[in-house]
Amino acid sequence: MTATFWQKVDKTGRNLAPFAVTVMMVLVGMIPVPVPGYAPVAPNLTLVSVYYWTIHRPDLMRPGVAFLIGLLQDFLVGGPLGVNALLLVVAQWAVLNQRRVFLASTFALLWFGFTLVMAGAVLLQWLAFSVLDAAALSILPALFQGLLTVAVFPAVGWLLIRVHRAFLNG
């Protein structure tokens, strides 16, 4: 009885890993790095994490989870509510629809897929903020943020694979 109980706790804990890791990515993405001009182009680690888990464990990265994480990010970032929530929900949905393609593909294709998702995210973010601020904002910072995120994707992806193997394959 106790064994099954602890097994359940263990399983729940392990199943929480994608959520916990993504929340950690939200927080790590907000670390102030004293490099000139870094803050506006800090890589969007949250999106990398949502992308990865949607492909590999869609049962643990459901739309509701993506929404919650986005909402948390909105609260912490200090921007208008709902923007990141929308972004992550749309990204999760888009990746889920093409999941079979990604699952069967090589890392290079995975990377390319993320570039497409990031491009969509940049556009969506720019559109949302421009509408909410009622001004034509410059898309350039978001574009550089997108490029930087694509550049760090292999490193973050490697980290996520390690977490995946450590907690969920056993």
Partner: protein, 289 residues
């Protein structure tokens, strides 16, 4: 009978689940859009909710921002060690110059005091400073804020000015119990009443999410020149007058740009100015942002 029905249930369940999934997607998209609208209308309650969430995560942000700050300091000190000699020479020259300025300042202060006592000028309200560490930047291209480790229990109030090193950084927009959020003066929502130090021209400094802010509502023929200093005017009673803000860097028909004196991208600690005004009952209307 039974197996067949369960088979049909399974056959039915797959599209149903797909439908539910699609429906949840739509529902969540609608929820996000609704949240955007709620955030626009109910900004006060959203702000207090935001302050609570930020408070809850502040200890974690504080902990994980420390190693990054330490690493940055190590790198910086290595670089500084390399040009210590040049730096020393430069500082000696600067010190000599500043000593002269100190004499001038002392003389002016004495003169000021005597003139004030002659005119019976009411002294400015005293100014207290609250020091705070920066623990988070938004990591977003469209938002310029900082989260700092000082809140209501440290005496932080909404609307206080935030200073770092050489000048104004921004304004407190949201106060939690032990953390608060500062809107940088380069954010697109920032508006700060300023005055130009030479021409005494009053203006509003507005951010536009770039590294430089612009001056609004200036008459078209105002004789402003590049290099003129911009300080807070104290209009509206939010900020004490005379806080250094920045320097005019460009005057063109596209507008007048001001470079903030404080280096906004590497603020590690900042000072919140407790101006001693009853700013607690400030009306947080959107146009005061």
């Amino acid at each position: 009978m039974k197996p067949r029905s369960s088979g049909s249930v399974i056959r039915l369940a797959a599209p149903l689940r797909a439908l539910a999934q699609r429906f949840s997607f739509l529902l969540l998209v609608l929820a996000s859009v609704a949240l955007m609208m709620v955030g626009k209308i109910e900004s006060v309650s959203v702000d207090s909710a935001r302050a609570r969430v930020t408070d809850a995560f502040a200890p974690i942000l504080d902990a994980i921002s420390r190693p990054a700050a330490t690493a940055a300091r190590v790198v910086e000190s290595a670089v500084e060690l390399e040009n210590a000699f040049d730096e020393n020479q430069r500082l000696k020259a600067e010190n000599a110059r500043l000593l002269q300025w100190r004499q001038a300042a002392l003389r002016l202060e004495a003169e000021n005091n005597s003139l004030r006592s002659l005119l019976r000028v009411r002294p400015e309200p005293s100014v207290n400073y609250i020091a705070a560490r920066v623990i988070a930047t938004p990591g977003s291209s469209f938002v310029r804020t900082l989260v700092v480790t000082a809140g209501r229990r440290d005496g932080v109030r909404k609307g206080q000015a935030a200073l770092a090193g050489a000048g104004l950084v921004g304004r407190v927009i949201e106060v939690g119990e032990w953390s608060s959020r500062v809107l940088l003066l380069t954010d697109i929502n920032a508006r700060i009443p300023v005055i130009l130090s030479n021409t005494r021209q009053r203006s509003i400094l507005a951010g536009d999410n770039s590294d430089q802010a612009k001056l609004l509502y200036l008459p078209p023929d105002s004789p402003i020149q590049v290099g003129e200093r911009v300080v807070t005017s104290g209009d509206g009673g939010l900020f004490p007058p005379g806080l250094p803000v920045g320097v005019v860097t460009a005057v063109s028909e596209r507008g007048i740009r001001v470079l903030p004196s404080a280096d906004l991208s590497r603020v590690e600690y900042l000072r919140l100015v407790d101006f001693g005004l009853p700013s607690t009952d400030l009306d947080p209307s959107p146009d005061s942002k």
